[in-house]
């Protein structure tokens, strides 16, 4: 059962009880209250945010221009010294989205669809993942064995996906970016390894994976810590012959991959160019001149 169905079900139950107790005058109609109602705006949508405005502004045009130039909450008015109710609700809703992105699990249907087997870091559950970054950087023996048994060894490029701190980033972007990246490399005659998904992974997990697979270039598509502007932002961290304990400066990163940042398909195509360059120059991070 997905969220939508759950909400519908709960709504239905509550309405039923209200009606039974005579607390509801209107006859219950599903269309009016369930999530399918289009007259109520999603608090996190642009349409809703557009309704949050300064009352009686001196220069509305200038406010519009400023708001267009940033995702920050500017030109939203105030109630005394505080936020207006609308602005407050929108902030809380975005915060909830951010928390959700961290705490929920990546959609297994999508992982299956993308043919990504799931392995896990040494972190055993979500709270350990959040509080013990050191464990997220390591793989337990069973995960190491899985890679050794099921993945192609010594590929030119090893690509894998990891939740990091945003599972929404995986759900929203992976279907577009992964095939664009894999097909793009294949077309340029670059040999890629077997992709998989690492649950509770951190950026340096890629160093371990690089050592196991012996790949020349290792790429992780990772969910970024959500902010109040975007909960589904993904980054691609890449390194040439990554090793455990190497300096961070050897990583190349492309960030802000999401629907309002770099489009995932476009990012995939850009990564193809960078990876090709890494293989040519045998370098990454600050050594790589793009």
């Amino acid at each position: 059962m997905d969220n939508r169905q759950l909400v519908d079900l709960i709504t239905k139950e509550v309405m039923k009880v209200l009606r039974e107790n005579g607390l509801l005058d209107e006859p219950y109609s599903d269309g009016g209250w369930s999530g399918t109602d289009t007259s109520l705006l999603d608090l996190t949508s642009k349409e809703y945010k557009d309704t949050i405005q300064v009352t009686d502004p001196e220069n509305q045009l200038a406010i519009n221009a400023m708001r267009r130039s940033t995702t920050a909450r500017v030109g939203i008015g105030r109630a005394g010294a505080r936020l207006t109710t609308k602005a407050m609700l929108s902030l809380r809703a975005d915060h909830a989205m951010a928390k959700d992105a961290v705490l929920k699990a990546a959609d297994e249907n999508i992982l299956r669809e993308m043919n990504l087997p799931v392995i896990q870091s040494q972190a055993r559950e979500i709270n350990e993942h959040l509080t013990r970054p050191d464990l997220g950087r390591k793989l337990p023996p069973e995960s190491v064995d899985f890679i050794k048994k099921n993945c192609k060894m010594n590929p030119q490029v090893q690509i894998y996906v990891s939740d990091g701190l945003s599972n929404s980033a995986i759900d929203e972007n992976i279907r577009e970016i992964l095939p664009a990246l894999m097909d793009g490399l294949k077309h340029r005659g670059i040999d890629t390894g077997t992709p998989f998904f690492v649950r509770f992974g951190r950026v340096p997990t890629m160093d371990v994976i690089s050592e196991i697979t012996g790949a020349e270039v290792t790429v992780v598509l990772l969910g970024e810590r959500p902010g109040l502007a975007a909960a589904d932002s993904m980054s691609a961290y890449m390194a040439y012959k990554a090793t455990v304990g190497m300096p961070e400066s050897r990583r190349t990163v492309v960030s802000n991959i999401h629907k309002n940042g770099i489009q995932p398909v476009e990012a995939g195509a850009y990564l193809v160019e960078i990876i090709e360059k890494m293989l040519q120059t045998k370098s990454s991070g600050v050594d790589l001149v793009l």
């Binding site: 077309h187 802000n256 489009q263």
Partner: protein
């Protein structure tokens, strides 16, 4: 991830052949990747510096109907010499022919020839709307409106035309052109009228004013003429248009139609100098320029607009042509450098419905439209312009690429480059996919963040910054 200093400067020339005056400027445009190291490249023009300004020459004419091409070329050759450059040094720029000069019989021939001489990548461009925009940028109105978050209009009052452009917070929102300028009437030092433009009497008729050569000017007549022409200009600026605007609006231009009021006005063109300097000598230039400026000064006092000083007056158009016509676009190119520059590519804009169908691999409507377009343009090389999707899926890109390749095979010759221009950011993905789908080894060029209209033309220069971008000039060519 530094891009190095290599080839990140563009030397751009602007040449303006106006009704009355001709001038040239040279500018250095710096191109940089302004994206943070962890972002996809974003190539922008980061600084625009004028390094040379020519004096303002009177536009040489052979007769009232013909420009003197040899003299114009001589002026430009001399200016190149005194600036210490050769045509080979010039990377980009625009020759723009404006006002009544664009109506001369040999206007097209002369701009084409001049752009060939002026540099490898200098384009001939004209059209009343484009002039308005260029003047508004050159006058600094665009940046004023951006900085102060307001609606500002620029009136570029030249010899034969007045170009009006309106910017809202830095965005161009409207432009128009009217056939009113300081040189609609000219007279000699004794006050005897030697030339009257037909356009003067067209609007004069509304007030029963009729002027023929041979009549004499005096203070009273000058005031009447200034009053008349400034009313025509104000009529075009106002939100309610009267018959003046209908009569005076330049062919191929449309009157202003804004839903909000203009707040600030800047002035440029020759008449602007008379305005800002409060020129008192009515007869100084043997035309109506000073009279128009004086009348405007008086009338603006009771208008709701605030007049602000422009950055450039008489040189606004040439500065605009030199600095603001060149843009850069991030690109995906599988090319051989020899094909650049691509000049005067007519742009085929795929219709909305046709583009929707492309995502379903249905190219029928697009091929039909392109067939008509090719019949009309008689140009083998064309650019295909699409809107693209803001949020394209991988499948969208595959289908779009397949469709474009199919269109290419069906409609374009095997040796013509496939040039795809997209409004939304998708050039890399689309370009790579086209490369994959295309069966021959023709040159493929894919550019994004480009907004063009139907009937526009594009010039594409040699790749810069290690091939991650190309300079482009979008233009509208309208010669009568």
């Amino acid at each position: 991830m530094s891009l190095g200093e290599k080839n990140n400067k563009i030397l751009s020339v602007g040449i303006d052949i106006g009704t009355t005056t001709t001038s040239m400027i040279l500018s250095k445009l710096a191109v940089e990747n302004t994206a943070m190291v962890y972002m996809a490249p974003n190539v922008e023009l980061t600084s625009k510096e004028i390094i040379y300004k020519s004096p303002v020459y009177l536009t040489p004419l052979i007769s009232e109907e013909r420009l003197d091409g040899d003299k114009i070329r001589e002026i430009i050759e001399n200016e190149y010499r005194s600036a210490g450059i050769t045509p080979d040094d010039v990377d980009s720029g625009a020759v723009i022919i404006t006002g009544e000069s664009a109506l001369k019989e040999n206007a097209r021939l002369i701009t084409d020839k001049l752009s060939e001489f002026a540099g490898d990548f200098v384009v001939a461009t004209a059209g009343p709307d484009l002039e308005s925009i260029i003047a508004g940028r050159g006058a600094g109105t665009e940046s004023f409106s951006k900085v102060y978050g307001c609606v500002a209009a620029n009136l570029d009052i030249g010899g034969g035309t007045t170009n009006i452009s309106v910017f809202n917070c830095g965005d161009l929102v409207a432009q128009t052109c009217i056939d009113v300028g300081g040189r609609l009437i000219r007279y000699d030092d004794h006050g005897e009228i030697t030339y009257v433009s037909k356009r003067f009497n067209d609007v004069g008729k509304e007030r029963n004013i009729y002027v023929v050569p041979g009549m004499r000017v005096d203070d009273n007549k000058m005031a009447l003429a200034g009053d008349l022409l400034s009313d025509v200009i104000l009529d075009a600026v106002h939100q309610e248009h009267y018959s003046f605007t209908r009569i005076a609006t330049t062919k191929n231009s449309r009157k202003l139609n804004l839903t909000y009021p203009i707040q600030f006005i800047t002035l440029s063109g020759g008449v602007a100098d008379c305005y800002y300097n409060d020129e008192q000598d009515l007869y100084k230039y043997n035309d109506l320029g000073v009279a128009i400026a004086q009348a405007l000064r008086k009338k603006f006092q009771s208008e709701p607009y605030e007049i602000v000083e422009s950055k450039e007056t008489i040189r606004a158009t040439v500065v605009g042509a030199g600095i603001y016509t060149t843009e850069v676009s991030g690109s995906t190119i599988s090319y051989s450098e020899e094909v650049f520059p691509l000049k005067n590519l007519p742009v085929f804009k795929v219709g909305e419905k046709a583009e929707q169908a492309l995502y379903e691999c249905d190219t029928r409507i697009a091929r039909e439209e392109l067939g008509w377009f090719l019949d009309q343009s008689q140009n083998e090389k064309i650019g295909i312009c699409i809107k693209g999707k803001k949020k394209a899926s991988y499948q969208d890109i595959i289908n779009l690429a397949k469709s474009l390749v199919e269109i290419d095979e069906d409609c374009l010759g095997w040796d013509t480059p496939l040039v795809v221009l997209s409004e939304n950011d998708m050039a890399k993905a689309l370009g790579q996919m086209i490369e994959r789908e295309i069966k021959n080894d023709k040159c493929v060029l894919c550019l994004d963040k480009i907004k063009m209209g139907s009937g526009d033309y594009i010039d594409i220069g040699k790749p810069i910054l290690n091939g991650i971008a190309v300079p482009i000039v979008i233009k509208t060519l309208i010669f009568n």
